[in-house]
Symmetry: C3
């Protein structure tokens, strides 16, 4: 499959000429440098509101007109940003309601970015207005190729407007029935039965902080508030520039917004990718970054996405900002493209002279010229990307899916019980994703309500909460021949965070898995159990479900504690498929061996018949195969036949040695 | 001695049928299951206010009538709770003054439990009213056997009403004299001399946070506010149901309320017992739990108490909730009975479906049936408890007391000086309690104003503050032949937290102990000194008093630092008794050897002539001897004669092997 | 050089007779004891406001009159304090505006000390008034020898008055030009361009927390507020008692006030010195304390200062308050004198009976008599100090300076980037100070705008920010023959915290140092690089500048990572001088060897020709040489000729052995 917005890989990034308005000679220098750097796109006007509208109703577009023209004249397309991510001081001063209120109940002062109420009618109107003016002004400008909405939506507000909006949300969600809300939130506990919608407030440390179902509602409400804020933003753009695609930049696995839901509203998903390279764990960092790429790719059924931000050198906001070795950022960029990115974009083109991000890496450093290692590296990559037109728009087919579901992540975060310390949901999902990637098998990372039928194998790590219909869909999938594997503490609560009655896992899943989960043990850091599987023994940490087989084949047992001898890994034939359960939180060795078995059982094979040493990751996209060495030493790759190396243009075959940070894109 | 409220050990716990009001079939199932579990009591209506009074002045008792009848019909007695621990949303909404204000000065919103102002006249009136109605309704119900007041009183409020109440409290405490307050709070320091009572505010981080005497007053005020809140609660109950005993559930060594003072107002002390078993320190956990049992038992002159809450499996609020091995909770329950509990009660009968505590252990799990390990364990214990009627109401005589005084704990917490890091008061007291328990010698845990005369030996660890009259009472006790041992930093301040002038320990105690305490050294973690005692050498950590003997016999000396050779352990003959001083914070080896000497000196002997391996604890209550194995392996016990094992009904004698978690109750 | 305020070393300290007003017999006892302790000065009336002015406009000076007379009659001079450090409760109650507002926006309640708004006109007026009354009353009292203004100025306030004052400050600082402010704060970033001065607020976590240039302004504003508060305080004193010198007590390297600027307004600098002795690092503690002494000495061009507070035994506010061994505090006091102190003063004369500091060490303990080790030690030191009249007022000449600049410290603290964890500025400066002190070479510790010309060698560790003119002054200094050494991340931003454009280090410094600093790597804790220098290899941690030589001689190279082989240490001949750059954060071994080379290059020699073992520090002041053993064992010293030991009066020569804590002052 294929879906293209551009003909070439986009190479560019955030460009803030507005910060240099007093030194316009730098603008011309930027044009010269962009061409040297093989940049073909610039994202402009993020955070430019205070320049565009210096006073209420007074607009200053001259500089932006000039810039749009200049970029166009230099063959650089423009991704134009809407400015809602940071409002001008006058706006906050005149309409204090636009600023956020924290849990304390105290309204923030003007400052930083974001920091706006998601509900405020005034702010929504001001945003709609400035967006309309932007769209009207540039709708016909030939440089305009895409809208970049706001910036890294995040956070929440507890003002009275948001309280009322949350109450309204609850009212609608619970069908105007307080009885339903009381039952779903289990308000009989601690005398919480409400008798009026006005009794609802946002969760907070100095109020209600212990009702997990309510906190789940708050997460849903906040997430939907962001989406509705976005829909308000884009209304004039859709009207005025219906053909210009729209995106906004997501932040990794940020859990304040259900990106899987939000993505449906975007023409194109994009995200900001900042791995911490060269801190002694590059292979894991690469695998975890790949997981995130695949999560974003999977949000729109595999459609290519944009890597809207990355750094050409280092960032400034890690605790310790190690400088990645030369080649590392190039490899990191190529990995994004391998996993479905159609862009390599930087934050930022030029380092700002002051402000919070003045030491965040950029293509052009404070020295201002092109004679830096970083600039040369960027230029080389830009040139290489120009050779990858064949990749643009291409999809990757995956036969394996790992469920990583935003809402389940919320439910996992909120519950109090079992192991309250070691239960990172994303770590667990990544653990079950990595073995496939290491073997060159593409994996989709999907929410629990995605279509399972296109996969041969679905893994559901720690699927604690089951949204409505999930039980039935799993049952149907396995009955029809699917392979479905779940891990500990799965199937405990329903979509409203209430425990299923009648035994775990929920309802018919007991039959699907052929087990009954009676109890759960938790192990403090430093305490371990052991489990067997296929004749080997594995460490067991953090969480151990105590399960009984009701017909499932026991593939592994616990070796210690009072539940020694009880099942730890099970397999159950159900209909035409099989369901597996790994009852414990386990180490990477177990995940690898267990996934090997699943791969064989589901008859899944690598995407490309290439053998490579450990540390080399292989990924097929369209007809191109990306071979990438993330190890700290050179590695060998054995090709099954002759290919063309798209970067060098040479034919390659047989055994190839990749240097550190080396990669090939072959066809 | 003996004091009984029931003829049998109470077996039951918190039961919340109000949470299941929409599924009444579960109520009948509960009756069936309770009988299977040998449950004879249920504590109902805790946190039921929002169901009982759904609107102001509108009452709904139908469900509770039904439940009382149902329980009675099934032979299960009812401990009826008053609902003040959590108010309905409508009440907080209509009368915001009932909610707490934190130190920030911001009023809390409705949420969680507790969270009520202790002073609010409105809340006190509402509580009195609902309690009156409850009492009127059920005063003649045959199931009603006891009142359970509110739930785990705790916390504090900083609202304007509480400020005024605190000012009034100070005014009364200081005899309407600001001069006295200024002198006692040493307000000359930092220009704090007050000229009007209205200048007093509660201590807080953003106000006065450094006046320890004031913080001590605040502790006393808050503690008395809880007691006065309680007295307001029970007034209608005393009036309407004068024959129904009253209790409330305390929380371990919670330091926000002076339980030793509060206990005087209860008919029966009860507490919630949640040891963290099977985390690798079971013997210490058992000894520390025993200390707490003995503290509660000692509060009403040895009168048996209730273990009002415990878990049949695990809790949900520890960081990591390890599942205790089978048998552990039974042993833990038996330990409570051994130390004076006349009940084994659980939080909770049935796991709630939602809410914060849905994963807290319960007799009936979410699966809803009796075929779980936990249910079977509870039922077996219930059956065993039925064989222990001989124990009910029985006292234990102790000839040794350890002073653990709530008010001293406050004073210790507040002072700034010496070792500000390592000075846990309760740890120090437990350290001096354990050696006796390990030898089968019963210990009372008493406040400093308890009667010393009934003991052969009194230990006063870290008795930093001396309430009025304590000096004289110690002097009198020793003069009359008592053995009294104190440890470091004892006798520094008076009841108002002012240092005694003229040298430490205070006043005549210098003569009683025959020492002068000139200075105190503190050792950071990792630095050690050494001290000798009886030819052995011990580690010295954290705190070292530098003392001089003024006639005391020096039993041990420091070995290092500039005070090497100075006394570290002393003994002083005074009148007919002896006073001992251990000048340093010491390890368990020293405590054991030093207590051995004290045991010999005071001529104290074990309660029962039974020898047992380490890890086995022996406790006599009435005529029954409890022999309990807390070790992680089987242990041997040698009986001095033939006994009857009350559980098995068999005769036992000679050497007996107890399995892990094994126990005997023999007579 | 010489400048004297007294003829003898002042020996005394904080004396609070106001706390003992109800026991005047203690006052007479104090006189007796002070004479025994060789005390010749008392600092009185700190925090006495609530006694002096018990009600608004009602004054009570009787006790102070008595005390002044009594001290005078006993030959003890008085340093009289102004009471602004803690106001009476009535004042805070009547004028709430005098209390501070924290970042939360919530006004503090009365409590602790300080805690006053720096701007409040009411508080300034009240302070001026009480100071005027004090000055009028005691202007002719013969005991009055010095004013001690307030106490340990510190902290900040965020009230509306301070907001307005900050806005006014900014307006003046930026020449009434918002354009200038917007450019200097780089407000184009994140749409922060301001259009009205009223849009400025103080930086805070719930508002603007990310604009480093603004935070730098806030630091400057707060610092100047303290100075202006002080100037308001002293106006009546200067008017009424023009001949009485004025000081206030500074707190070590407290970074809330630019002490280097404040010092210019004082007649005499004084500070409170509380090293943590005997925690296993005495030599380092001594070196770091010496650094602070030298920083205060350097603030008024080498003029002697007062050690206004120290403890005769221990403090109460360290986490763990180790008792220093006998002799340690005497050695510590002598060190102060060696480095320029003309006083040894204690906090406190007598331990208070209550309050927060009752366990802070004092000359007179709670026992109240002189028969304590501490009292005896103080008396012996007092007697010894009487023999050091020759030292009083004497200067020390230094040929080496280390730049430690308060404003640079602020800039270093605020920036976000590179290594955000390990970049303590004061640690770095101390690292470069210690090697000189260990060799007996005196060092001045100066701000960057001090005069360089009197030094042979100037070290500028981590000179991140350059105030206006600094580039030119460095260039001039080196051109004229000076030796100037800088370390990593120097010369990045200008006085407004904006990055220099055109390459680092800033502007012409690239020529002065002969290098270009292209990039900076940061190493997480545990990761190391290596660098060579003079044939040896050193550990490199935390920060590594990647530099190029543009003509500089490369003295050392990196050994690892992708910049192995690039310069790590350089030397550049420029004009008649040399400029050195150490590009990395390094260990003490490197600092020692590098300083050795600098010492040789700059031809600097030790102040006194005395050889001593490690751990012995040697310092010349005037004609006196202080030889001090800070090691934990006795140490040998070899004298070059015969000297007179001022303490013993004996002649000393040849090899002398100093015991632990031993010292000599020889002439």
């Amino acid at each position: 499959m294929e879906k293209k917005f551009f003909d070439h890989i986009i190479h560019g990034g955030d460009y803030n000429p507005d910060q240099w308005i007093n030194t316009p000679e730098i603008w011309d220098e930027d044009m010269r440098l962009m061409k040297l750097a093989h940049v073909n796109s610039a994202t402009v006007a993020i955070f430019a509101w205070s320049l565009i509208e210096p006073e209420e109703g007074v607009y200053n577009f001259e500089w932006l007109d000039t810039m749009m023209d200049k970029l166009h004249a230099n063959g650089i397309s423009v991704i134009l940003a809407t400015p809602s991510g940071a409002r001008p001081p006058w706006l906050a001063q005149k309409y204090p309601e636009v600023l956020r209120v924290e849990e304390s109940g105290i309204r923030n002062e003007f400052g930083v970015r974001h920091n706006h109420c998601l509900t405020s009618p005034v702010y929504r109107e001001k945003v709609r207005n400035i967006n309309r003016i932007l769209a009207e002004r540039y709708k016909s400008h030939p440089a305009l190729k895409m809208w970049h909405i706001s910036n890294e939506y995040c956070g929440e507000c507890h003002c009275e407007l948001c309280q009322q909006a949350f109450r309204d949300w609850c009212k609608e969600y619970y069908h105007n029935s307080l009885d339903e809300l009381n039952e779903k939130w289990w308000n009989g506990f601690w005398a919480h039965r409400m008798t009026d919608w006005s009794q609802i407030n946002s969760p907070k440390f100095r109020g209600e902080s212990h009702v997990s179902a309510m906190k789940l509602c708050w997460n849903r409400f906040v997430s939907e508030s962001h989406i509705s804020f976005y829909e308000n933003e884009i209304a004039p753009l859709r009207e005025i520039t219906p053909d210009i695609p729209i995106t906004t930049n997501f932040m990794k696995l940020y859990d304040g917004i259900d990106y899987q839901k939000f993505a449906k509203k975007l023409d194109l998903v994009s995200w900001d990718n900042y791995p911490a390279w060269d801190k002694g764990r590059n292979t894991d960092e690469a695998l975890e970054t790949a997981f995130v790429h695949d999560a974003f790719r999977s949000m729109k059924d595999g459609q290519p996405f944009f890597m809207m931000e990355s750094t050409p050198s280092l960032v400034n906001w890690h605790d310790v900002n190690k400088l990645p070795k030369p080649g590392m950022q190039e490899l990191s960029s190529i990995q994004a493209v391998a996993h479905g990115a159609d862009s390599v974009q930087y934050f930022q083109w030029r380092k700002s002279r002051g402000g919070h991000e003045k030491y965040h890496g950029a293509v052009v450093d404070h020295c201002g010229h092109e004679n830096t290692r970083v600039f040369r590296d960027v230029a080389r990559l830009g040139k290489n990307l120009e050779k990858l037109d064949d990749v643009v728009g291409k999809y990757t087919d995956a036969k394996v899916a790992v469920i990583y579901d935003w809402e389940n992540g919320w439910a996992v975060k909120h519950f109090c019980g079992f192991n309250n310390v070691n239960r990172s949901y994303s770590d667990e999902c990544m653990k079950w994703y990595k073995p496939f990637l290491k073997k060159g098998i593409a994996v989709d990372v999907i929410p629990m309500d995605a279509d399972f039928t296109k996969y041969d194998l679905v893994i559901a790590p720690f699927l604690y909460m089951l949204k409505d219909g999930t039980i039935e869909r799993i049952e149907e999938y396995v009955k029809n021949g699917g392979h479905f594997a779940a891990t500990y503490l799965s199937g405990l609560v329903d979509t409203d965070d209430r425990c299923y009655l009648g035994g775990f896992p929920a309802g018919r899943l007991k039959d699907v898995f052929g087990i009954w989960h009676e109890d759960t043990d938790s192990l403090p850091e430093g305490m371990k159990n052991k489990a067997t599987f296929n004749g080997k023994e594995y460490d067991v940490v953090h969480v151990c479900d105590i399960i009984h087989s009701n017909g499932a084949k026991v593939l592994g047992e616990y070796k210690q504690d009072f539940y020694a001898g009880m099942p730890a890994v099970t397999e159950n034939a159900f209909g035409n498929g099989k369901a597996y359960y790994a009852a414990f939180r386990n180490d990477d060795n177990f995940a690898a061996d267990f996934c090997d078995m699943l791969i064989k059982a589901a008859n899944v094979s690598p995407d490309a018949p290439i053998n490579a040493d450990n540390g080399v990751l292989i990924r097929k996209r369209g007809n191109c195969i990306f071979v990438m060495n993330f190890a700290d030493e050179e590695k060998a790759v054995v090709l099954d036949k002759e290919y063309t190396d798209l970067i060098s243009g040479n034919a390659v075959s047989g055994k190839v040695t990749l240097p550190v940070c080396g990669y090939m894109v072959i066809e």
